[in-house]
């Protein structure tokens, strides 16, 4: 199967910096080889880029549009990425994440079907609740991460990464065919008629409350409702990708622009449109994985630190792709683990080498940057088990120079999810 464009870009080893930089007109010269690969993979495809229904709204609001996973998306608006990141934690952010793929599985066997593909205890989820999970492959590696919601026993709603859409849908379809051939009752609907907005930050709930009659204080982190928001029937999930309290709102596309405007207006301008640049800073500060960087085909959920997402019953029973590998890792411990770092010197970026204090290679950085909130360098990466404890001193090699680093607990910035007290 062909990897998506996003995946290709993210795994191009020699690429300097992060994805956003590449889509941005790169004012700074890249090494010639990189420049060619960028041109091939990116600029040549500009004309084919898809637009969300909010495209004109972004441009009208000063959005700097860049290619991202086959879509033209705002990397930032008028605020700097630094200011945008801070404003999300202080007030709130509104993101257009319509490039992500919303999907419903329906039928009385939806739950057992999905359980063959993911590590979550879907059967054990209460109706109207959900969780972060991963789609695994036969080797226990990760095909994608996804937030899944059990609407009821015969309807699962999930959202997968834009860059993984094609391979995820092909994977689900292949298994669905086999499942149905054996008499299983499941079908899917891809929500291309809907757009997805993420409203995040301390003002998310008070702002959204102005636009719906439903009492949002009764919907906790991971909770889901189908409800009327600003006059449109929406799927509301209390989740996000920033570490803040907030929501993802799946809205019929014809109502998306009106809803975005209403949210900004009801917040009295405090919730601001926020682009992919700040979204990346926010999720890194929150210690959340970016698929293609921090999680890949060959990384298991145990190595990625997502053991908590493997339901207890699933640990006992298995029954998902790659379960043998994953259950063995649970018993024996993984050989590598995802950890966080603080470091001095230049900000680490993906593929920076990690060494122990003697200069021996012990791993690689998968995401890194300067934290706008903590005003210091933060990074995530994988190191050999045994060297993964918080407080372990390491060296991070950037442009040939070793810089001091220390392994630290995740998240870097405390999460503020809305949970029952």
């Amino acid at each position: 199967m062909l990897p998506s464009r996003l995946y290709q870009i993210l795994s191009a080893k020699k690429m300097r910096g992060s994805l956003w930089q590449l889509g941005q007109s790169i004012t700074r010269r890249l090494a010639q080889a990189d420049k060619n690969s960028v041109a091939r993979r990116f600029y040549s495809a500009d004309s084919e880029l898809k637009k969300t229904v909010l495209y004109d709204f972004h441009v009208a609001n000063g959005g700097k549009m860049v290619p991202f996973a086959g879509w033209s998306m705002p990397i930032q608006y008028k605020d700097s990425i630094m200011d945008s990141t801070l404003n999300c934690r202080e007030n709130g952010s509104l993101f257009d994440v319509s490039h992500m793929c919303g999907l419903s599985l329906k039928g009385k066997d939806s739950v057992p079907f999905l359980e063959k593909l993911v590590i979550a205890d879907v059967a054990g989820l209460a109706h109207g609740t959900g969780t972060l999970t991963v789609f695994t492959n036969e080797k226990g590696g990760t095909i994608d991460d996804s937030v899944i919601t059990k609407v009821n026993g015969e309807h699962i709603y999930l959202v997968v990464n834009a860059g993984c859409r094609d391979k995820d849908l092909a994977h689900i379809e292949e298994h669905m065919k086999a499942f149905k051939a054996k008499g299983g009752d499941v079908s899917w609907h891809i929500h291309d008629e809907r757009s997805l907005l993420a409203l995040q930050g301390p003002l998310a709930a008070p702002t959204l409350q102005h636009l719906t009659k439903e009492d949002l204080s009764k919907i906790y982190f991971g909770g889901f409702r189908i409800l009327d928001i600003n006059g449109a029937s929406c799927f509301l999930t209390r989740t996000g990708y920033t570490g803040e309290d907030g929501f993802e709102i799946s809205v019929p596309s014809e109502h998306a622009v009106d809803l975005a405007k209403a949210i900004l207006e009801k917040s009295e301008g405090k919730v601001r449109l926020t682009g992919l640049g700040a979204r990346d800073s926010l999720r890194l500060e929150a210690g959340l994985c970016l698929y293609g960087n921090d999680m890949e085909q060959h990384i298991t959920p145990v190595e990625a630190g997502l053991t908590w997402a493997i339901g207890k019953r699933r640990r006992a029973e298995g029954g998902f792709l790659g379960a043998e590998v994953i259950l063995k890792q649970l018993a024996d411990g993984p050989s590598i683990r995802r950890v966080g770092f603080f470091s001095s010197g230049p900000p680490p970026r993906s593929h920076s080498e990690i060494q122990d204090e003697k200069g021996t290679n012990i791993g690689e950085v998968t995401s890194g940057g300067f934290s706008p909130c903590l005003k210091r360098n933060i990074a995530m990466g994988y190191v050999k088990s045994g060297l993964h404890k918080a407080g372990t001193k390491v060296k991070i090699v950037i442009r040939g120079k070793a810089n001091d680093g220390v392994i630290t607990k995740l998240p870097f910035v405390p999460s503020k999810y809305y949970k029952p007290s």
């Binding site: 007109s25 600029y43 008028k78 230049p346």
Partner: protein
Amino acid sequence: MASRLLWASRVASYLRVSVSHRGFASGRSDPLFVKDLKYAESHEWVKVDGKTATVGITDHAQDHLGDVVYVELPDVGHSVTQGSGFGAVESVKATSDVYSPVSGKVVQVNEELNKSPGLVNTSPYEDGWIIKVEMSDTGEVKNLMDSEKYSKFCEEEDAKH
């Protein structure tokens, strides 16, 4: 004459866009392009004073990079060659190599940038200078663009994307 006016109006519209955007980041309203400087296609500027050249990155470059959080400086005495890298500028968004617009020996580096890398954003042509080079071939400056040519170059480059 007509084409020259057209060019001027394009530059003006470009300036307005950039200035208003940058206003959010730093509240500055300096000119984007400084007349007496020479510019490289990789967006460094150089100010020539006899055999000494002061080097930094342009306002256009810092604007695209966003908040600069780290500047990697070479050692004094390091040799640089026109068109080859000598350091890097890191922003929240990205890492960028910095290329020397002239050849010679580094005689001074801007140590202030270790404490205040944001000077590259707030004062790219003055306090945010990066290195001073004793040039081995002052004739190389001829290969660089003047401000008029560079502003047009930036405009064309932005239009491409």
